[in-house]
Amino acid sequence: MGEVTATVAAVFREEHGRLLAALVRRFGDLDLAEEVTSEAIEAALAHWPVDGVPPRPGAWLMTTARRKAVDRLRRDRTLTARLAVLRVEADRAGPVPPAPAEDLPDERLQLFFTCGHPALAAEDRGALMLRCLAGLTTPEVARAFLVPPATMAKRITRAKKKIREARIPFRTPGPDELPERLPGVLAVLYSIFTEGYSASEGPDLLRVDVAEEAIRLTRILRRLLPTEREVAGLLALMLLTHARRDARTGPDGELLLLDEQDRGRWDRPMIEEGAGLAAVALTGGPPGPYGVQAAIAALHDEAADLASTDWPQIVALYDVLLALTPSPVVAANRAAAVAMRDDPAAGLALLDELAAEPLLRTYGPYHVARADLLHRLGRHTEAAAAYRTALDLAGTEPERTHLRRRLRGVDPAA
């Protein structure tokens, strides 16, 4: 029974976002929508195992949730008054398009833009997306971001209060606003994805796989915005990175870089899907930053080893990326690729040119890249110093283990 409930719960995580979005559209109030969404799902968990699953589960959930909302509105006059005001304001804002005649209309796009609204604190946007769109519970979101549940509950409450009281609208930006608003939403999704990697501290069985949740959400967004090539690019980048997940750590949980990974353990079907999406992202117009990063990841994933990787093409793509999003981090990555295309000295010269960048001084991967090149040039003392700098900056134990091993390669006494 417990197992059945868990399976049903997983199905509902999928339905949760859809149902919530449809209810937000109907009532214009996130709190009310969340409350009746949970209640409807609870009711389904109680009834369906006994009475059987209804023929149109989405419609059943929607009807149940709506009935519960009406009950609440009867009991709560203040809420009714607030919603009446919202209705009037919504009329002023423009006509609501008629809902399509599906089992449950998909209104999730507007919720993506509300959760990723620039007026919300950057740290709250990802949490809100995991809560409202991925259907995670607040304790699950807390574990995802490695903060205490009470802290996360406070952050989510604060964000919802701002949505309600500053009246951040539930609407999809028009075509003229989309170029300005979509990158923000994509950045939130990518930050959830990288959180899944950087914050991982050993096996935590209770922790939802955050990277996979980010991929799931990006897949939903891709279905909702099929013609936006940067959405395809972001999904491609995530898949092409995630395809290497099993090869990223060694037997003792230490981090392995590209040159040390067993490429046989890379997820080939995922690479194929990612490469296909990267091609979509780069076709039909000027490329965006996620599309270009996906193309770089695809070249790595499709190469048999480091030596046969298409480094000239990777350097060229970094040139494009640098023009799109100038940043010292991108310049450092480009320098590392130049080292592979030409020779270590050429790469090192470029890295040293960036030494004064304040952003790179505390950026571990920069020092690792320098250390590796110094190592290959036989300058072991300088390499050891650079590894030590990187070691001081490393946040997680797998990273440290990896760096200590590299350090011993140039300084056996370390």
């Binding site: 203040t78 008054a81 304001e89 919504a90 002023r92 804002a93 007026a119 009281e165 500053a166 009246r167 951040i168 609208p169 609407r171």
Partner: protein, 112 residues
């Protein structure tokens, strides 16, 4: 829903926008039918602060001459459907350019 646009001028003389820019913006807000009220404030050197302590004693001081780099120079209160519309108006306000900024704050609604 009412929002106040608090217009903060940069400490550096705001040569980014002209009086005509302000007149154009003012006209647009009025013609859109969203204006509740608007004022611009006299120079900060004319400001006076009043404090009353626990004994009811009044202290009047010149200033404050904020150490912050931005100074409140005026405000608009507009009535629009939601935050996105308010942010659009804030972005059109000449005070948002250059060293200035416009802070958008919803006016509290006590349901009276």
């Amino acid at each position: 829903m009412k929002y106040m646009l608090l217009i903060n001028a940069g400490a550096v003389d705001g040569s980014e926008c002209t009086a005509e820019d302000w007149m154009t913006f003012d006209k647009e807000v009025k013609e859109a039918g969203i204006l509740v009220s608007a004022e611009s404030l006299a120079d900060l050197v004319t400001a006076t602060a009043v404090r009353v302590d626990a004994d009811g004693k009044r202290t009047v001081t010149d200033g404050p001459f904020a150490e912050t780099r931005e100074v409140l120079g005026g405000f608009y209160v507009i009535d629009v459907p939601d935050l996105d519309v308010a942010l659009d108006w804030a972005a059109r306000c000449p005070g948002a350019r250059g060293a200035g900024s416009v802070v958008v704050r919803p006016v509290a609604d006590f349901g009276v």
